[in-house]
């Protein structure tokens, strides 16, 4: 399966809230960078830490986070995704476009993720 198809499959699984199905996509020592200045900002190293972060984000947003890829570009070594991210939390709305890049290991597992939002300030406010 191509990198782009795999990423789409991942987004679909995320949308169903099926976190267990997501583990196979990541390498054991995946490094995940969360930009910004809010309670979830920082680096998460390892699959366990990453899934704790996913669970926390889900809890804080009451499961309202939605990912809609605008475009997914992939080569053997990298995936770039343009992701519309929406959510709701304590009456606050999130609606941003994230530019996301992942590094892909030769075995197809994702090893590193980083991203920038089109409106970081609204991301910070949403999670604060």
């Amino acid at each position: 399966m191509s990198g782009a198809a795999r990423a789409q499959e991942y987004v679909d699984a995320f949308g169903k809230g099926d976190l267990d199905a997501l583990t196979e996509y990541f390498s054991d020592n995946v490094l995940w960078h969360v930009a910004g200045k809010h309670q979830l900002s920082g680096d998460y190293r390892g699959r366990e830490a990453l899934f704790d972060y996913f669970a926390k984000a889900r809890e804080l947003s009451g499961g309202s986070l939605r990912l809609e890829p605008e475009s997914i570009l992939a080569s053997d070594g990298h995936i770039a995704m343009f992701m519309r991210v929406t959510g709701e939390r304590d009456g606050k709305q999130l609606d941003v476009l994230m530019a996301e890049v992942m590094k892909v290991a030769p075995d197809g597992k994702w090893t590193e993720f980083w991203a920038v939002a089109d409106d970081q300030e609204s991301v910070d406010k949403f999670w604060s």
Binding site: A35, K37, S75, A117, D118
Partner: protein, 136 residues
């Protein structure tokens, strides 16, 4: 068409070459009239810059702070009609500090084949912010 062969890749290559030759007007020639530029991180060069003038201000800050040493070493280009990405190493020197950080640039194209909105992000944000910070 494979994403590695799309014509928009030539546009991205031209942008990188213009950046590395220090020619801001040649960089802007790859953009539409209203560039939107999102720079991740914290500190004096972070934020969102809108329009050519703000882009030039941002450019000038980069050039002045690094004495023109900032270079982009492209590793990979990806593009389709509407979107593109470049994976590259950013290198620069400043006040005796050296920056070398894996970086990604993601961009949306308009329907005229120009860049219209770009995101610049780095894998090591801490190193990046430290490099640009005013205090030593």
């Amino acid at each position: 068409m494979k994403v590695a062969e799309h014509p928009n890749i030539e546009l991205l290559r031209a942008g990188v070459n213009a950046f590395n030759s220090g020619d801001v007007n040649a960089v802007l020639a790859t953009w539409n009239d209203q560039p939107i530029w999102h720079q991740g991180g914290d500190g004096p060069i972070a934020g969102t810059f809108r329009g050519r003038e703000e882009y030039k201000d941002y450019w000038n800050r980069l050039q002045q702070r690094t004495d023109g040493t900032m270079k982009l070493d492209a590793l990979e280009f990806l593009a389709d009609d509407g979107h593109g990405a470049i994976i590259f190493e950013t290198t620069a020197e400043r006040k005796g500090r050296t920056l070398r950080v894996t970086s990604a640039y993601a961009v949306k194209f308009d329907d005229q084949g120009k860049q219209k909105e770009g995101w610049y992000c780095v894998s090591d944000q801490v190193a990046w912010d430290r490099f640009w910070a005013d205090e030593s």
